[in-house]
Symmetry: C2
Subunit: 451 residues, 2 copies
């Protein structure tokens, strides 16, 4: 049985089905919403009109899953799990009931973070977690004129751009001095410029103290911690998410130190026969060694696959995360992997940094775009601890090279020796990654004399 019908849950179900046929294993999948296997990450692009149809975001419909031998029950919320009796209680528009299980996959995803301020639960305050959230937000934006986005994280900025594309006046409020706090401030500053370039008002170093409501009880704006009043027809929560563990916690499935459901490498919870995957679980960060919750579709798919293979009698493990992420604002692309400067310090690493500017193709080719790389290398060892990229078209995806270097614990001197692809339409003869590694290695060497 699977609770949650998006990436993690349906991947688990599909993999289990591949290994065990319908006669061997019945698989019931409960999904609270209408849709299965949809791209929550695509919602901003649908809202902005870049993606034409809501249906485009659905990778696999309930009907398609049913044709694959899964008993998918949409519009059906699991309200409780009884681990002793091995049953779940469910509720739908048609009624409620119980369903027994032998094995259970918890894939309940995440919920938007809500600052604990007055008015935050008022109508007109929208999250962007589920496709149903997206549908509700898009409807709310029809006829709206002013939007306040609370939090300038990835989703916050993507929603801000989408709202600007729709011609709305947009203000983004963030407590940090630069948006997307998982980037170093010097990289975040480029993001801030790009956002302002969209005529989005950026209110930084300021939080939301209150959501104002009108006589009808609906949100009509926010007041910031510094006392600024920002009127809005719609308020969007862009503060990131927290794992949706209410069901698991109530059932007695142990959580980890990060607040996500604790799982082992095979995605087993600490309760026999109960698995968990996706935004609701915690993962091991391979550099900090800490347990972290990273809500990202790519992890959810992989974790769901691992859970399903193991549940189906196979063997697979989830290898952990290193914090790779990317986004774009207008034509500015940013990406990161490994640890940011703040994260590296928090994890106890001493490191040097190197920043280089280069181009995405040979400089003499038409279409060469600027790209800036920032590398963090551990003192003495020169181990690559993290990388951040900011640039124009063709920049962000290059983070993967650095992500794999981080994954393999390569030193920047080793990175400098890599045999990367070169041709004038694709990179300078010294690839930007190699230039950055060279400069980082020089910084490591210069620092050695002071160690």
């Amino acid at each position: 049985m699977v609770v949650g019908g998006d990436a993690a849950g349906m991947s688990a179900a599909a993999q289990a089905r591949r290994r065990r046929g319908p006669d061997d294993l019945g698989i019931v999948c409960f999904e609270r919403g209408r849709a299965t296997s949809y791209s929550a990450c695509g919602i901003p692009y649908w809202i902005g009109g870049v993606v034409g149809s809501e249906d485009d975001l659905v990778a696999r419909t309930p009907e398609q899953h049913r044709a694959g031998g899964l008993d998918v029950r949409t519009g059906t919320e699991v309200t409780a799990v009884d681990l002793d009796r091995r049953v779940v209680a469910w509720r739908s528009a048609d009624g409620k009931g119980e369903e027994p299980f032998d094995s259970l996959v918890i894939a309940t995803g995440s919920v938007p973070m809500r600052p604990p301020v007055p008015g935050i639960d008022a109508p007109g305050v929208h999250g962007v977690q589920t496709l149903d959230d997206g549908v509700a937000l898009r409807a709310a934006l029809d006829g709206a004129r002013r939007v306040v986005v609370v939090g300038g994280g990835y989703i916050g900025l993507e929603i801000a751009e989408a709202c600007r594309t729709r011609g709305l006046a947009v203000t983004v409020v963030d407590r940090a001095a630069t948006p997307v706090g998982t980037f170093d401030p010097d990289v975040g500053a480029f993001l801030a410029d790009a956002v302002r370039g969209l005529d989005v008002e950026l209110v930084l170093s300021d939080g939301v103290a209150e959501v104002l409501t009108g006589p009808d009880g609906r949100a009509r704006g926010v007041v910031t911690a510094s006392g600024r009043e920002l009127p809005a027809d719609v308020v969007v929560l862009g503060l990131g998410v927290r794992p949706n563990v209410a069901l698991a916690r109530a059932a007695g499935v142990p959580l980890g130190p990060s607040g996500g459901i604790a799982v082992d490498a095979r995605m087993r919870t600490q309760v026999p026969g109960v698995w968990a995957a996706g935004d609701c679980v915690e993962s091991t960060h391979r550099l900090s060694g800490q347990r972290v919750v990273v809500a990202l579709g790519t992890h959810a798919n992989k974790q769901g696959r691992v859970a399903g293979i193991n549940l189906g009698g196979g063997y697979a493990t989830f290898a952990g995360v290193i914090g790779t992420a990317a986004t774009k604002v207008c034509d500015l692309e940013v990406a990161r992997t490994g640890l940011s400067s703040a994260e590296a310090e928090a994890a106890g690493y001493a490191f040097v940094t190197a920043v280089v500017d280069s181009t995405t193709t040979a400089g003499y080719m038409p279409g060469a775009e600027p790209i800036r790389l920032k590398l963090l290398a551990e003192r003495r060892s020169g181990r690559l601890l993290g990388a951040q990229i900011v640039g124009r078209h063709g920049s962000a995806k290059r983070i993967d090279a650095l992500a794999i270097a981080v994954w393999n614990a390569m030193s920047v001197d080793e990175v400098l020796g890599l045999d990367l692809s070169y041709a004038p339409p694709f990179s300078p003869v010294w690839d930007p990654v190699l230039i950055a590694a060279r400069k980082a290695q020089e910084a490591v060497e210069a620092d050695l004399s002071t160690c």
Copy 2:
């Protein structure tokens, strides 16, 4: 002293100068041609008019190098090296002479392969190795109508496209059944289609038996092995290159089994005080373990840097190659890393392959382009042995992720766990690299039952 003023030679000179000042070490650089530090790889784009000026291809002029404390002597060919007397003999338009050295860097590059057929040395048969070659070819193309390119390798196809851009009728002749033999034939077939799409005539599975010459002694076409006569005003050699080792061989500097100058990891030849770098040396292939000559600007720059650091009293090594390369024909991009199927077989590996089709962004985003990946994974171990990519805009540079996986001897199962960047504008939620790894892993597992 440095012989050869392009990437390898000038990188070596510049690095040595960084470590030892002019009072400590005099550095004389001999260059036969007019230019230093130019991009030979950019010549096709200059000939095709994509790059506006020949000067754009020059990263650093002789004057700039001189300002950096190097005694650069262009238009000066080194005709002999006397290792006993530690002098080189040189010749220029102004005369000839000798110059003593303590340390010597041989960076004599490569020369185009010439099939040993009648007429191959006739005027009108052009290589594309040096900037001077490029200037001569471009001049020859003015007023030409028909071009035959002998050999459909990287440079051959790039030159063919450039000539089509100039409106010339182009025929490419290659002995293999598909162009660019370092790709598997199924990938090469896409290249063949792209080349034909440019209205280039592709004569495959046929070699050149003779270069026809006119009464003036100039090339006027070729005759193929099958007897076809292909008239041409200009014949371009696109068969690839061989290391230019005439000077080294005559001096008694030992060559390796591949025919390139034998060097150790620090780019030292077997003669004390004599270093070599760039297209004229052989490198270790990290997968086959064999010594190979790979003529590519990226290696030349790295090897020159290593030679210069060591010559200057520092310590650096060149880590070898894994055969990463990329090119494009019109809007078709291809890239490869590691071993092709033929290379893997020759190296004694048994392997399975997986081919997957995906898109460069989430499939629902506008601008999603098709991308096909082919992976080779070793039997049993699942070690990634090689990868090939063919696709549209945004495809080729993704080979770097696979190159770094190959470099680190990752298994496809390990690749499947990688934390690669994901956002809808940059990849599907299952990155094409991960999809390919997943399919390759399934192939490894299916094969295991037969091992």
